[in-house]
Point group: C2
Chain length 600, copies 2
Amino acid sequence: MSETLLSSRNLAFELYEVLDAEALTRRERFADHSRGTFDAALDTARSVAEKYFAPHNRKGDEEEPQYVDGAAQLIPEVKPAVEAFLEAGFHNATRDFEQGGMQLPTLLSQACFAHFQAANVGSAAYPFLTMGAANLIESFGSDAQKRRFLQPMIEGRFFGTMALTEPHAGSSLSDIRTRAEPADNGSYRIRGNKIFISGGDHPLGENIVHMVLAKLPDAPPGVKGISLFIVPKFLVNEDGSLGARNDVTLAGLFHKMGYRGTTSTALNFGDQGHCVGYLVGQPHHGLAYMFQMMNEARIGVGMGAVMLGYAGYLYALDYARQRPQGRLPDGKDASAPQVAIIQHPDVRRMLLAQKAYVEGAFDLALYAARLVDDSQTLADADERRAAGELLDLLTPVVKSWPSSHCLKANELAIQVLGGHGYTREYPVEQYYRDNRLNPIHEGTHGIQSLDLLGRKVGQNGGAALKQLTRLIQATCAEAAGHPALEPLRAPLEQLLGHLSTVTMALLGDLLQGEVNRGLANSALYLDAFGHAVIGWRWLEQAVRAQRGLDAGQAADADFYRGKLQAARYFLTWEVPACHHALSLLEARDDTCLTMADAWF
Amino acid sequence: MSETLLSSRNLAFELYEVLDAEALTRRERFADHSRGTFDAALDTARSVAEKYFAPHNRKGDEEEPQYVDGAAQLIPEVKPAVEAFLEAGFHNATRDFEQGGMQLPTLLSQACFAHFQAANVGSAAYPFLTMGAANLIESFGSDAQKRRFLQPMIEGRFFGTMALTEPHAGSSLSDIRTRAEPADNGSYRIRGNKIFISGGDHPLGENIVHMVLAKLPDAPPGVKGISLFIVPKFLVNEDGSLGARNDVTLAGLFHKMGYRGTTSTALNFGDQGHCVGYLVGQPHHGLAYMFQMMNEARIGVGMGAVMLGYAGYLYALDYARQRPQGRLPDGKDASAPQVAIIQHPDVRRMLLAQKAYVEGAFDLALYAARLVDDSQTLADADERRAAGELLDLLTPVVKSWPSSHCLKANELAIQVLGGHGYTREYPVEQYYRDNRLNPIHEGTHGIQSLDLLGRKVGQNGGAALKQLTRLIQATCAEAAGHPALEPLRAPLEQLLGHLSTVTMALLGDLLQGEVNRGLANSALYLDAFGHAVIGWRWLEQAVRAQRGLDAGQAADADFYRGKLQAARYFLTWEVPACHHALSLLEARDDTCLTMADAWF
């Protein structure tokens, strides 16, 4: 049977041939693990995802959450699916054994989660959001807060959200207006309105713990005046039992293009003046705390975008193999049987592009997860720090590149299916609609580009960028001289060289205070940088695939040849196409900057 | 008030400054027309579109047609809208005065139709499909057929469809299986199944006239064995009164991603064995006839794609001007007011790209309509033929380029609106979904690319291509030497030169029988060719805008400067990016061709 979520052969290639997951088992934290326990977790993820999540993916889209009497109602299939996820313990995949967790590396937990994102991103979001909120309390909450709010999340009884966006502020968090007034008992009274809060209401658990950004009365202006609060839907007594309903109101639901299974809510805090919140950590440090959650979330968004692209690719591939239509241009005999559409070069182009996008981005998302592990569990402190810095640099790419290119893969999947792809009788149009959220939430594409060029690239004297450059050069050195790999290496080195020149020039602008000029075309920079990174990951995959081929693993020869051909597609079709954008950056092209509002 | 359908200033620019619509009034057929009658028709189109079509655009999406008791039910708003369209006589816009038509040039009729496509493409499709069917009967039907089927269409009582696609054949028309057996009375008995028939059932008129492709018993194999039949939903008596229900059954409705207002139907012909059809023209010539309708339809699809992009652009532009959010990168004062998002360079980039795509494609679609007029009403027969040849060459571009790039514009419009753009509370996500059909129907993108490179470019010894090249060179010559235009001319000439080299090489392959090799990357060729054509149209617009500026029309200075800036965006950002694809074509890159099925 065809695989529908992801290719398990490709996953094994990533984990055991490219990213050396087994090496992690030699670290103390993962010493109880082995390839066997890893594979068992992956098998469970696949089977829970296939059995409980995939079957209602379309229904969750067709019958989106309803606002009934001030609450959000979901289709009945969501609850047993989420319960199966919790039952299997995936929400505690990386948590300590003592806490009841699986103590898995993040690399493995992300690989497990990927199955749920491919199967049903709308339902999977509920536990995913909860994990983010739980990790935030774990890192920055007090012991009492952990007992009352984190523990029930670990037990799968409470859910969580992150509540940042406000109607008038959107991406501009420094402009939020939600206020927190100190109350007598050390708690706070919260008042404000939030929108686009995913999972802001649902009937899946006993309680929902909102992680809310708000401003204290003495807050300095801007992002330095934002604090973080726990605001539960139901108050929680000292003994852990549920208290009264807190003053958090579901004001309404948004009706989205896709991703419909996840409630997107407008929440009012303190309409009645008695919304209770609890300060997390220090006053005015809320945004820094939230960034931990957002960085995790951005990697999660990247992987989610990959998996929607991946599911679409696998469906289109299967369809193209089954569906007969037409003949090749040189086949003039109209009475000859029709060929499968995968025989048409243009269909192959569309499939090869999808493969290059989704398998390239999948590798990057897993590589980022591996960096999380390295930043936490490498023996050497300097190496841990270096891994963290590289992860920081790559985060905007991990979030953005899959969000734009795996979306493009979804668009190509629709095209492969033609008229059928355009109907809701087939799944690919929903994958597109679901994926269209990813370039928007958790920081838009434009915001990620400012983060990359305006902050990450120059951080610590460019230390992370230098590290990345060395890693890319090392892969190029491995490829050098091999006849099959040499033609793939050259375009990557050319792009890297051009990118370095441009980076130095733009950082120069920023250093000289020419901020608007230097950042004017940051979106072009993000795209070119992303292509260099994905190009590197493809060359890395090609090196490993060639190694597999050279080792004469006959059963896998087709798999490895496909890898090499997709690498060739990406490195010779896509990578060289970036030079024009880099030239525009190099020339400080001001076409967009100088377009006056009145001229439109 | 902001305009929501299209910019009337831009339309006037196109008609009267770029395409010289007034010159048409000096031709005999249009002698009764003037700029005044043209503008009156456009005003009527705008007002009917705004009043009757735009208001239910969202509702038509939310409440899609329902299958009830073997018939398709529509929301009640469609019928009065279509009646207002018919009442105003737009379905007869180009028809002779004696037939009750407006005898307008196609240039003007397309400009009128554009308003309806922007307002509500789902409802507008019903009269548009009817016009296509009517024109087919007018060109190839017998006098009796015209009396019985065309005349009621002209009177607005009957509707029409084109019924080509079959479940097992899709784009491969040579494989259709619908059969037509001669009956005693000169009619035929039709038997077969068609899918994706737009407007295949609805309650808008007295009757629906299906133009059906089917094969006669003695048909040779392939496309040379296809005949065209009139198959009415209700039989029509000699006196024009309706007879019995014909044996055409609505088997079901497709549920689409967008374009939901238009029924997409599965039709069964002859389930009961008594489906009556009437042969149009000669046996086995059906596909040639149908191509007249398809060529018209392809221009219509191109314009429809433009207008969905256009409506999205105008909405995003208005939103970006109104919506405050954040500050520029150099604005460090968090207490300063937020700026309108149009101030952010990346938002300007997204708006400028949309403007470049939709106004460039709008110009091309109108230019193609002007070529229809030239091919029919120029005084000189050779010039008429030349215009027809050029139109033929450009048709795949007119269909495809807007379908891919104005769709991209819709994607950017969603991004400009951010989270709001992703909700169904705003119109832009629907524009994307509606537009996503356009690269699929009336010949997919891949099929258009084979038509362009495999047929059109080399036709008549490349006569049309030579004509196009001369026209582009003439525009370049007009731009040469002018300081503002010179930087725009150069990239176009470079692309044209590279394209010519590649074209010669690929045509050489085809002449030598290397068909699969020559056509392997035809989609890349279509994209590059399309960019050259749109680049030319932008240079043409820039020349006219510069003329307007030089004439010192102060009130229009902003408009002209916007045109020049959009031309600069397209010619310096987009046009030079095509060279890499041309290099792949030149090298006969076989990455897609050699990717084996088993390697995926």
